[in-house]
């Protein structure tokens, strides 16, 4: 399904999606973030500071609550999410490509019911990048594209005064059908313009991982390289790289206690971070990833080697957030290129 949407009618489309809570990028305080749409909607953001991964994988969620009177068996009550249906607008192609990677992790081997319950209620309405919105974009070199539809339900492309809107999935079709009246049929000129815009978007120069296909073998060969310590020397272990990443999925599980007698509390999942020393520290004190070099190697190798070995695709989608936001300038493109160029 391909349609044309006059920019002035974007709000009408959003209004027609009464079954959904609609989110779109908004400037809040000092950053772009996904916010509920109340009023006029504009899609002129570069990219959001955080990826939309939290809609299916929130930073904190309760698995179940427990209550126990001393000497008695505890009562567990599972709290499966009552996830509202979300339609999230303005998703950039790199973040779209994060979605199937998260789906892979949370459904590999066994199903994660918390993730899936939320995930199936999220519709991703993408916005193609006519030119890279960020100096550190590198989607093309990791198998993506500024016009990729991977992971998206709908792809919108800005044609100036109107959007070219294409349904990618059945969910996407339903979103468009819900507001059939606001769309027009695309003309041959619209289709030509879309084709030209997409061709220009793909041709726009970007930073690049030099040899993404060779990266898994090169990283593997350089596992013991002293380069890792050298490249990680500035790292302060803040973990911003992974928190902002559209594909980082590591988490912690802990018990939070509200009352000790009778015992009342909840088991909670929170995002965790491979850049933190205690992420892998055994209770004996032994730590298999002792230094920042080993932890940088874990982050980069997970993206560009291990995930590829397991699932045949890189876990990095080239959004560039970890580069832009790193307080000490650690640059994953530079790291992969430097290590891959090293004769192990």
């Amino acid at each position: 399904m391909e349609k044309i949407l006059d920019k002035k009618r974007l709000g009408d489309w959003v209004d027609a999606l009464a079954d959904y809570e609609v989110l779109a990028p908004a400037w809040e305080e000092d950053a772009w973030g996904y916010q509920p749409v109340n009023g006029p909607i504009r899609l002129d953001h570069p990219n959001t500071k955080q990826s939309p991964k939290r809609l299916a994988f929130p930073q904190r969620e309760v698995f179940f609550t427990f209550e126990q009177i001393k000497g008695e068996a505890p009562r567990l009550t599972q709290t499966l999410p009552e996830a509202p249906r979300h339609a999230v607008f303005g998703v950039r192609p790199c973040d779209g490509r994060g979605v199937p990677r998260m789906d892979q992790v949370f459904n590999d081997y066994v199903e994660d019911v918390y993730y899936n319950t939320r995930r199936k209620n999220v519709a991703y309405v993408g916005l193609a990048c006519n030119k890279p919105p960020n100096a550190n974009c590198f989607c093309l070199s990791v198998g993506g594209s500024p016009v990729s539809t991977d992971g998206l339900d709908v792809q919108m492309t800005d044609l100036g005064d109107r959007y070219f809107v294409k349904a990618v999935t059945e969910t996407g079709k339903a979103l468009m059908t819900a507001a059939a009246g606001v769309f027009a049929e695309p003309s041959a000129a619209d289709k030509k313009q879309l084709k030209d815009m997409h061709a220009a978007a793909v041709a726009y120069p970007q930073r690049a991982v030099n040899d993404p296909d060779g990266a898994p073998a090169k990283l593997k060969a350089n596992f013991k390289s002293p380069l890792w310590d050298e490249l990680a020397r500035a790292c302060i272990g803040c973990g911003i790289c992974t928190f902002l990443c559209p594909t980082c999925h590591c988490f912690d599980i802990n018990d939070e206690v509200q009352s000790k007698a009778p015992l009342k509390g909840q088991r909670v999942r929170t995002w965790d971070n491979c850049q933190f020393p205690d992420f892998t520290m055994h209770s004996s004190g032994h730590n298999p990833r002792e230094g920042t070099g080993a932890r940088l190697r874990q982050r980069v190798s997970h993206k560009f080697q291990y995930f590829h070995e397991n699932f045949g695709m890189h876990q990095c989608t080239g959004c560039g957030r970890c580069i832009t936001e790193c307080p000490v300038g650690i640059d994953i493109i530079h790291v992969v290129n430097k290590v891959a160029a090293n004769a192990a």
């Binding site: 068996a73 505890p74 999925h249 988490f251 018990d255 015992l263 209770s283």
Partner: protein, 274 residues
């Protein structure tokens, strides 16, 4: 509703025994599942245990799959959850989910000589194998157990080990000589060399502190054991047990799913991240 992988079953503590005293005490528990929450397991698999309000930890199942009705765990007091276990009383109720991980290929080992080499708390993960092999004694040729503790007070399963004598060669060792100790004095890798085990038609299974495992494997290689005939079980910090939380990986493998059991032929090619 799909199965919720994070929701534990409840289990009651029906037996406890203090194995080893001191700062790093080891205590054995039998947990009896409640509300029909029984699951079968294989030798080498683990379970995620929880004390509600304190958290979860992944622990090796120390009882044989042949034992029905309860599962045994021997837990060293080192962290938040393991300490909470040491504070439990008979009848207390805990959480259990599992089983997790792969298992020892015991069926491939019938008709072979088995050498078990354990140190410290590392006897617990191989105990299901030892007790299963003994229960099916006629299926195996010679069975030998090497086990060492730092001192005589650090020997776990002491009474059970003594009971094995007769059908199994048991060689106990301690690091330094003590009055009244008639077993080997020295580290476990040396205790193994002292008995010169024969690699023909044999499988060696070792578990213990990483440094012990390293030297045991070196010595086994020296004795002529092939890498594919040496097995060990490793552990890393784990939160989910299901290949999702992202911390227990050794290279591309999540130990909770692809491990914890590895032959040395497999493990020697993985990065040393354990």
């Amino acid at each position: 509703m799909p199965h919720n992988i994070y929701l534990p079953n409840l289990a009651r503590v029906i037996y406890t025994k203090d194995e080893v005293p001191g700062e790093r005490a080891i205590r054995t528990f039998h947990l009896e599942p409640m509300n029909g929450g029984w699951f079968d397991h294989q030798c080498g698999q683990c379970a995620m245990l929880s004390v509600f309000g304190r958290g979860e930890a992944l622990i090796s199942i120390a009882s044989s799959p042949l034992v029905k009705g309860y599962k045994q765990f021997s837990i060293m007091r080192v962290g938040r959850v393991s300490s909470a276990f040491h504070d439990l009383a008979m009848g207390d109720v805990v959480g259990i989910r599992g089983p997790y991980g792969n298992s020892f290929p015991i069926d491939d080992w019938r008709g072979k000589n088995l050498y078990f080499i354990g140190g410290g708390c590392g006897l617990a993960p191989i105990w299901p194998l030892i007790t299963t092999a003994v229960a099916q004694r006629a299926d195996f040729k010679n069975i030998t157990v090497f086990y060492g503790g730092r001192t005589s007070r650090d020997i776990m399963y002491r009474a059970e080990l003594e009971k094995l004598r007769g059908s199994v060669d048991v060689h106990l060792s301690i690091d330094k000589a003590e009055e009244g100790w008639d077993g080997y004095c020295g580290f476990v890798p040396a205790a193994v060399m002292d008995k010169d085990p024969n690699p023909n038609n044999a499988i060696a299974i070792t578990c213990g502190p990483p440094i012990m495992i390293k030297f045991v494997i070196q010595n086994l290689n020296k004795l002529g054991f092939k890498d594919e005939h040496i097995y060990t079980t490793i552990e890393n910090k784990m939160k989910c047990g299901l290949g999702k939380c992202g911390r227990c990986n050794v290279g591309k493998d999540y130990v909770c799913v692809k491990g914890p059991v590895y032959s040395w032929a497999e493990l020697k090619y993985l990065p040393e991240e354990y």
